[in-house]
C-alpha cells in the first residue's frame, strides 16, 4: 500500500476496486480519484455498478478487493468505519429520511447521537443547514408532509450538517417529479460553487455539463471513458460513449443548462 503525500494528494483515491455478488461481477477494477474541491459525475446504463461504487466508498457494501483512500485513511481495511462515514455525506435516490422525526430532528439526530452535540447546539446547526438548502418554514413537518424535492433537500441538509469532506449523490433526482428536480439541482450547484468535493451519479446532463470537472462513463463494471464534459459532449473517443450520450439526449434532453 502506498501513501503518496505530495501536494496534489487526492481527497479520494480509488484503486482497482472489485466487487461481485455471487457469480455477478459488478465492479471489475475501477480506478479514479478526486482532488479537493473537484466534482465528478458518473454516468452509465442501469445495473452497471455506479451505485455500487458509491456504496463501497463508505463501505455500505464491502468491496472484494482494491483500495479506497479518503485523505490519509484506507477505507476498505480500516477498523473505525463509523468515524470515516461521518466525513462522507451520502444522499440517496430514495431520500432515506427518518419517518418518525420532523425535518429539523432528522438533521439533528446525527449531531446529537453521533457527534455528541448538545440539543441547543444541534438545533442551531440544523436550523442553519435547513436555511442553506432553502427550507425554513417546514422544519417542524414530518417527512410524509413534505414534497419529494423538500425531502431530498432535508436529506442534503442532514448530510451537510455533519461537515463532511466529501459528498456522494446517488441519483438524487431520479425519484422526483420533473418540476421538483430543479430545486434539488439548484442546491447542489450552490454547494459545488462553495467548493465542496462531490461525486454524483446522475442522468442530469445539464448538471453534469455545468458543474462537473470530469464525466466518468461506466458500463458493465468498467470505466469505458472519462473526460472533461466539454470533450465528452463535443466528441467522445469511443462509439459506445457516443451511443449512450445520444440515448440520454433522447430521454432527458440536450445537455444544455
Amino acid at each position: 500500500m502506498t501513501d503518496n503525500r505530495d501536494e496534489h494528494k487526492p481527497l479520494l483515491e480509488i484503486k482497482d476496486l472489485r466487487k461481485s455478488f455471487g457469480d455477478n461481477l459488478v465492479l471489475d477494477g475501477i480506478s479514479f480519484s478526486l482532488n479537493p474541491g473537484e466534482k465528478k459525475v458518473i454516468i452509465g446504463p442501469s445495473g452497471t455498478g455506479k451505485s455500487t461504487v458509491l456504496n463501497c466508498i463508505n463501505r455500505l457494501i464491502m468491496p472484494d478487493g482494491g483500495e479506497i483512500w479518503l485523505d490519509d485513511t484506507e477505507v476498505v481495511g480500516c477498523d473505525n468505519i463509523n468515524e470515516i462515514r461521518q466525513q462522507i455525506g451520502y444522499v440517496f435516490q430514495g431520500f432515506g429520511l427518518f419517518h418518525h422525526l420532523t425535518a429539523i430532528k432528522n438533521v439533528m439526530i446525527g449531531l446529537t447521537k453521533v457527534k455528541g452535540m448538545s440539543r441547543e447546539e444541534a438545533e442551531a446547526k440544523a436550523t442553519a443547514e435547513l436555511e442553506r438548502v432553502g427550507l425554513t418554514d417546514v422544519s417542524d413537518s414530518y417527512p410524509a408532509q413534505l414534497s419529494g424535492g423538500q425531502k431530498q433537500r432535508v436529506a442534503i441538509a442532514r448530510a451537510l450538517a455533519m461537515e463532511p469532506m466529501l459528498m456522494l449523490f446517488d441519483e438524487p433526482t431520479s425519484a422526483l417529479d420533473p418540476e421538483l428536480i430543479g430545486e434539488v439541482l439548484t442546491v447542489m450547484k450552490a454547494l459545488a460553487r462553495e467548493g465542496m468535493t462531490m461525486l454524483v451519479v446522475t442522468h442530469e446532463m445539464g448538471f453534469a455539463r455545468s458543474v462537473s470537472d470530469e464525466i466518468i462513463f461506466m458500463e458493465k463494471g468498467h470505466i469505458v471513458e472519462k473526460a472533461h464534459p466539454e470533450k465528452m459532449f463535443s466528441g467522445p473517443e469511443l462509439q459506445r460513449t457516443k451511443d449512450f450520450l445520444f440515448k440520454l439526449d433522447e430521454l432527458y434532453g440536450k445537455g444544455g443548462d
Binding site: 455500505l60 462515514r85 429520511l97 427518518f98 419517518h99 453521533v114 413537518s141
Partner: protein
C-alpha cells in the same frame, strides 16, 4: 337475557357479593396491566434478538416464540402450575398467572414487533449508517421508535385480548374475576346469574379500555404512519 339482568335477584346477588367481585376485578386488571407491561418489554427484546441477534440468539428467540405460539395457553398454565412442583418450584396460582400470561404475551408481542421492525425500509438503515451511527444506535434511535409506533394497533388488540383471556386463570384458581364468580356461584347455586354479572363487568371494562387505548393511539399518531384515518 336482559330480563335476567334487570331482575331484583340478579341485582341482589351483585350487591351481596360486590366486595368479592371487585377484588376479582382488581386482580384481573392488575394482572392485565403487569402482563402487558412486562410482556411488551420482553416481546421487544425477543423481536430484536430474533431479527438482529447473532445466529445463536436468533435461534433461541425463534424457538421460544414458536413453542409458545404453537401450544395452547391453557397447557402452558398447567405446566407451570403442576409440572414445576416436583422440581421444587412451588408457585402460587397468582404467581403462575402472572408468569404464564407474561411469557405468552411476550411471544405474540415479539411477532407484532418483528413485523414492524422489518417494515422500516433499508434506505433508512443506509442513511443512519452513513451518518456514522453504529448498528445498535441505528436500531435504537431509528428502527425501534418507528417499529413501536407501527405496533400500536396490534398492541391495543393484544391488550383487549389479554384482558379477556386472563379469565383462563380461573382454571388454576388464581383469584381473578372468573374465579371469584365461580366461588360465589358454588355458594348460592346461581351459576347463570353470577356468570352473567361477570360477563357484564368484562364488557364494561373492555369497552372502557377500548376507548382509552384509542385515545392512546391518537396521542402517538405521526403523520404518514399507516394507522391514521
Amino acid at each position: 337475557m336482559v330480563e335476567f339482568l334487570l331482575e331484583s335477584l340478579t341485582l341482589q346477588i351483585f350487591i351481596d357479593n360486590f366486595g368479592r367481585l371487585m377484588s376479582g376485578l382488581r386482580f384481573t386488571v392488575q394482572l392485565t396491566l403487569v402482563v402487558m407491561f412486562l410482556g411488551t418489554i420482553l416481546g421487544v427484546l425477543l423481536a430484536l434478538g430474533r431479527s438482529y441477534g447473532g445466529r445463536f440468539i436468533s435461534f433461541l428467540c425463534t424457538a421460544y416464540i414458536e413453542i409458545i405460539r404453537g401450544t395452547p395457553m391453557l397447557a402452558q398454565l398447567f405446566i407451570l402450575y403442576f409440572a414445576l412442583p416436583p422440581y421444587g418450584i412451588n408457585l402460587s396460582a397468582a404467581a403462575v398467572a402472572y408468569l404464564g400470561f407474561t411469557l405468552n404475551c411476550a411471544a405474540y408481542q415479539a411477532e407484532y414487533t418483528r413485523g414492524s421492525l422489518e417494515s422500516v425500509e433499508t434506505d433508512q438503515f443506509k442513511s443512519a449508517y452513513s451518518l456514522g451511527m453504529s448498528r445498535w444506535q441505528t436500531i435504537f434511535h431509528i428502527v425501534l421508535p418507528q417499529a413501536v409506533r407501527w405496533s400500536i394497533p396490534a398492541w391495543t388488540n393484544e391488550f383487549i385480548y389479554i384482558l379477556k383471556y386472563t379469565s383462563l386463570a380461573y382454571i388454576i384458581g388464581a383469584p381473578d374475576l372468573m374465579t371469584q364468580g365461580k366461588f360465589i356461584a358454588s355458594r348460592n347455586y346461581q351459576f347463570f346469574r353470577v356468570y352473567l354479572i361477570a360477563a357484564v363487568i368484562y364488557l364494561i371494562i373492555v369497552t372502557l379500555s377500548t376507548w382509552l387505548v384509542d385515545r392512546l393511539e391518537n396521542r402517538f399518531r405521526i403523520p404518514g404512519f399507516g394507522y391514521e384515518d
